[in-house]
């Protein structure tokens, strides 16, 4: 006899329907899985056998063929255990057919318990958009599945429980749909704890408000890392669609298991400088997302920037421009969003004291040149805010009066983001940094004194065309923070000043 159960698969972040067909024919007990299964799918046979027996049903002694359609797409992982088991039980006449618009996902334990799987959220979003309204998913994945309004989701503990639901002896209640609150938990670092460094704090505010990249260059102990770590505390809340994007990416890498549903806080990723290009960009045989995609809609913090391998840093160039990255491998190919704020931190020279007011730099000019050349020009060109940080004086450290708190800064950032959201509502982007050259022309056209000032800066600082555009975008953000609809000369002046760091010139 024949049975059909529907399940889902993923290529990158995009889902595809998998029809699980089981055919049971008279025979001596051959079992075959066809439809491009990987090893984990093939091994499901043994798990399913044990789980069916443990759930009090009988495993048919007959020739079983399991087909996973479409036959030309690779099926990976253990998510098909549950649909295959259901198809076998249905084909052997032990359960009634499962409704057509139902998707089943889940890994089986030998005792029939259903284990959590990766990628439930992106699969469900895609399936729901394609008209599948009912879902059987592992109970540990329930949290991330509870935000799809209109879906009937059953979070199942064991095969036995599901079978009792299906024969209506003990029907399950669908999990309640939650609404997105976007509430933030307080971050561990606060801007009020950072003494001095007002210029750097201001730059951080601008970077976060407009989604600009920032490079902190300064002597050891000047607070570069501390400032970067405090940045999550001024990041604005995510919208529901942003939270979904972020959660989807984290879901396919298996980071959402057992957590409380959606990612609410913007991600802050700080990979060590030993990271490989695939760790940063994405890769592996399954072409999984890397740090830059995990930092999507959030912050990617690269401490000790020049210590990263050159080839790793250069691989950041294209995603920094495009906001997405295509990971290609022999067996898989996937495109992931990667729109993040890059915060990089570095010392000005090998000994670290260059530019210090109190200590002497002991580096030779050639050492300094070699060190500075580890970060290439094209990469610096893509970083809008270059900030110098020198050590904080005694009086600033012992200052009792607390500095401005993160909550206050966050309010300003949120106001600026709101202005941007209004401005770009028909342009499909969210922040000033995402503007393309056409939008820059529309929204930031310098006139009068501003124009002459920019002209002078362009020639004196040897700006590239790209850098010039980025200066305009930063100026737009600074004006937004001021609540000005026009960009004033002082806004341009501040934006230019973020491009004119002495320490980065050799």
């Amino acid at each position: 006899m024949l049975a059909k159960v529907y399940s889902y698969g993923l290529i990158g972040l995009n889902g595809f329907l998998v029809t699980v067909e089981a055919s049971i024919m008279n025979g001596i007990g051959n079992y075959q899985t066809v439809g491009l299964p990987d090893t984990a799918v093939k091994e499901s046979k043994e798990r399913i056998h044990a789980a069916i027996r443990q759930s009090g049903m009988s495993y048919p002694v007959a020739n079983i063929i399991v087909n996973l359609a479409p036959a030309d797409l690779r099926k990976e992982g253990s998510i098909y255990d549950l649909p295959i088991a259901l198809a076998i039980l249905q084909a052997s006449g032990q359960i009634r057919p499962i409704p057509e618009n139902t998707i089943a996902l889940g890994e089986l334990a030998l005792d029939g318990t259903i284990r959590p799987v990766n990628g439930v959220l992106p699969m469900m979003i895609d399936a729901f958009a394609n008209g599948y309204k009912e879902f059987f998913i592992p109970w540990e994945n329930a949290a991330e599945a509870s935000y799809i309004d209109g879906a009937t989701v059953y979070a199942v503990h064991s095969l036995n429980e599901l079978l009792r639901h299906l024969n209506a002896s003990e029907p399950l209640a669908p999990i309640p749909i939650r609404s997105f609150s976007g509430e933030l938990v307080s971050s561990s670092f606060d801007f009020s704890e950072i003494k001095g460094q007002e210029a750097a704090k201001r730059a951080a505010e601008v970077a976060v408000a407009g989604g600009h990249n920032m490079l902190l260059c300064g002597t050891p102990g000047s607070g570069k890392t501390m400032l970067a770590r405090a940045i999550p505390s001024i990041l604005p809340e995510m919208t529901f669609s942003e939270a979904l994007e972020v959660t989807k990416i984290h879901s396919i890498t298996g980071r959402m298991k057992g957590s409380d549903g959606l990612m609410v806080e913007r991600p802050f990723r700080a990979p060590h400088h030993g990271a490989s290009a695939s760790a940063l960009i994405g890769g592996g045989t399954k072409a999984l997302p890397g740090e830059i995609s995990l930092a999507h809609n959030g912050v990617l913090f690269l401490d000790e920037f020049p210590e990263f391998q050159r080839q790793v840093l250069e691989s950041l160039r294209q995603p920094l421009e495009d906001g997405e990255v295509t990971v290609s491998r022999a067996s898989a190919n996937a495109t992931y969003p990667a729109r993040f704020i890059l915060i990089a931190a570095m010392n000005p020279c090998p000994c670290g004291n260059r530019g210090s007011k109190t200590k002497k730099c002991t580096c030779t000019p050639s050492q300094i040149r070699r060190y500075a050349s580890r970060v290439s020009g094209p990469l610096l060109d893509r970083i809008d805010l270059h900030i110098e940080m020198t050590e904080v004086g005694y009086h600033e450290i012992t200052e009792r009066r607390p500095a401005e708190s993160s909550a206050l800064i966050r309010e300003r950032v949120k106001a600026a983001r709101l202005i941007q959201a209004k401005r770009f509502q028909n342009d499909g982007i969210r922040t000033n940094a995402q503007m393309n050259s056409r939008l820059v022309q529309t929204y930031c056209t310098p006139t009068g004194t501003a124009e002459t000032m920019l002209q002078a800066a362009f020639t004196r600082l040897h700006l590239s065309a790209r850098a010039y555009q980025r200066v305009l975008k930063v100026a737009r953000t600074i004006a937004d923070l001021d609540g000005e609809s026009e960009i004033l000369p002082k806004h341009y002046a501040e934006a230019i000043q973020y491009r004119s760091t002495e320490l980065l010139k050799v």
């Binding site: 001596i28 051959n30 002694v61």
Partner: protein, 116 residues
Amino acid sequence: MRTIDAGKRGEEIAEKALHKAGMKTLARNYRFGHCELDLVMQERKTGTIVFVEVKARSKDTVAFPRQSVTWKKQQNLRKAALGYCAENGLTEQPCRFDVVEVWLDDAHVEQFENAF
């Protein structure tokens, strides 16, 4: 020697049932090295050679008799069948393997055509 007797009886029951199903016997217990074919039959209608493995059990067994035709056993049967075909010059004949399950208590026979 009771197991062998039981096996012999099973084979007799199976052979009779296959005769009724329109087959004639070509050989019984054909040996090729250490590989053995219980029955070699031929379908009268199509001329297909049928190599039959008979599995006899009494009712109180844990598993189905057919489940004891393992991969290794199947490989042995394939070897023996090749040997039989070679010896008798049957190179162009269609052939297949059947497993016949015999329940000794009530002489119930279950035939699995094209079992592997």
